[in-house]
């Protein structure tokens, strides 16, 4: 089944960074019934004085991995400004002016290290278990930003572990990630096409292709809106997906309107979710909601 949520604050230049982390956790907790296998979020517009925020994990008992990571990053001339690591999950802030793909490959190639995200102002945190567990382990509720997306997963297409949890970062494109409710039927053919173009896939989950597709199209010059429009023609299967970039969020719904999405919007905030109950967890008053139909998409920028 799965549940997707998203939120964006429109006036943070005037009001300062908003409590996006807290909103995301409240919305995900209210959608717990749509999946408890794993839960994850992307928060965008977070404060960052370095070039890139890297979220990574070290799998298993790999005591050398942290040291190897530090050495690897230094070897390409990058400088670590901040480093934090606990219970297998790590975050580093890095100054690095060369190609971000090289930074991503350097980290991902270290034995036992998995890269969850690299972003200029966004980070992905995902873990097995429900939203309350995610918040207890990673203190998401305290993170401030301008926008974000989130996902609760009931696994159908691939295995249950942190790697196969949403959101999926569009490796190695900074800040682009996707959460998806549905199944893609042309995943394997699309994946082969993008592999032939040189893209590295981090998982065997069909949803990962959406973020890679969108990132590649944006990289080639399309706007977020245009890339999403194109995805409606390219993706086959059932989907409601949300995408987060460095400055906005967007959604698309498949041509059967098979998966739900409802939206509430005020002058300063937009919230989107699989179900209205999630919207009511962050909007105190029952304001009007809007339900997109088949083959519809929309974007909002901060």
């Amino acid at each position: 089944m799965c549940g997707v949520i998203g939120v964006i604050y429109k006036n943070t230049e005037a009001t300062g960074l908003a409590s996006v982390g807290s909103d995301l956790i409240k919305m995900l907790e209210s959608l717990e019934h749509r999946g408890r296998d794993s839960t994850g979020i992307t928060i965008g517009g977070v404060e960052n004085k370095s070039d890139y925020i890297v979220r990574f994990r070290i799998e298993g008992q790999n005591s050398n991995a942290l040291e190897m990571l530090s050495k690897g990053i230094s070897s390409i001339g990058a400088v670590i400004e901040y480093s934090g690591f606990a219970n297998g999950f790590g975050k580093i802030c890095v100054n690095y002016e060369a190609d971000v793909g090289k930074l991503a490959n350097t980290i991902a190639d270290i034995d036992g290290v998995e890269v969850d995200s690299i972003g200029t102002n966004s980070e992905i945190v995902k873990d097995v278990g429900d939203a309350t567990q995610l918040n207890n382990r990673h203190l998401i509720g305290e993170i401030k930003g301008t926008h974000g997306i989130g996902h609760v997963r009931m696994a159908t297409e691939s295995k249950i572990d942190v790697n196969h949890s949403h959101p999926f970062w569009a490796y190695p494109f900074p800040d682009i990630s996707v959460v998806h409710n549905g199944q893609l039927t042309n995943y394997h053919s699309l994946r082969r096409k993008y592999q032939d173009m040189g893209h590295k896939f981090q998982t065997g989950n069909d949803s990962e292709i959406i973020s890679v597709f969108l990132a590649e199209r944006i990289e080639s010059g399309l706007s977020l809106d245009e890339a999403i429009q194109e995805s409606l023609e390219v993706l086959d299967g059932t989907f409601t997906y949300l995408v987060s970039t460095n400055d906005g969020i967007g959604y698309a719904k498949d041509s059967w309107s098979a998966k739900p999405l409802v939206i509430m919007e005020t002058t300063d905030r937009v919230a989107v979710a699989s179900e209205e109950t999630a919207l009511l967890s962050v909007f105190q008053d029952e304001i009007d909601r809007f339900e997109p139909q088949e083959k519809e998409c929309m974007t909002w920028l901060v």
Partner: protein
């Protein structure tokens, strides 16, 4: 008019809400539900006449498996409001998600504003009135009854319908497989207007009528009883 008793949904589990409803209906009370917060599976399996008002939005599969109640919802609903309604009345003031009135067999459902995809899917009787627009595959595989959409309908309206009628006041994005537009008689138009009036919707002058073209009917094998009559 019976005494009005309030149920605060925020203090009860889904099962407790439905058990409490059954108790109050047995005691012949009128009921209001407050703080529903778009939760699922509220008001299900009620087979008595009663009056229930919901102050707020409902989630999925609410007001379903009903035979007799009169329900007013002041808000929206998620998927499949009024699924398998046998008799009674459901009036919702705002929008509904997909599959409103799925497999309904009787009674009346009125959506104040817009309905999502597959409104009236496989309906087998009764009336589904939609004040605003209706989404993709409205009336998909319907077998009996009527759907009235005052606004526009999405693609593939009436796809694979067997019987029944769909009346559309606004634009039709496209007809589904074997759905055809036929002339509407004055008598039918008046009956549509009356139905709208019963549901408190201002009548509009014109409606298009959609029925099954019956080209998908291929019953070339006879049933046992039919064979004996040939």
């Amino acid at each position: 008019m019976h005494d009005l008793v309030s149920i605060d949904a925020s203090k009860l589990s889904t099962r407790q809400i439905n058990v409490r409803l059954t108790e109050l209906i047995g005691a012949r009370k009128d009921i209001e539900i407050i703080n529903p917060k778009a939760r699922h599976n509220i008001i299900v399996g009620i087979l008595d006449k009663c009056n229930i008002t919901v102050r707020g939005s409902l989630g999925y599969y609410c007001a379903s498996l009903l035979d007799g109640p009169s329900i007013v919802v002041e808000g929206n609903s998620g998927w499949a409001l009024g699924e398998n309604l046998m008799s009674g009345n459901i009036a919702i003031s705002k929008d509904t998600g997909a599959s409103v009135g799925a497999s309904m067999r009787g009674g009346n459902i009125c959506v104040g504003r817009n309905a999502g995809a597959r409104a009236g899917i496989s309906m087998k009787g009764g009336s589904l009135v939609i004040g605003g627009d209706s989404g993709f595959l409205t009336g998909f595989m319907m077998q009996k009854g009527q759907i009235i959409v005052c606004g526009d309908v999405g693609d593939a309206v009436g796809d694979s319908m067997y019987e029944g009628e769909i009346y559309v006041g606004g634009d039709i994005a496209s007809l589904g497989n074997d759905a055809v537009i036929v002339d509407i008689t004055k008598k039918e138009l008046i009956s549509v207007w009356n139905k709208l009036e019963e549901n408190g919707i201002d009548k509009q002058p014109e409606f298009k009528k959609i029925v099954s073209g019956k080209k998908l009917y291929h019953f070339d094998k006879l049933e046992r009883l039919e064979k004996s009559s040939v």
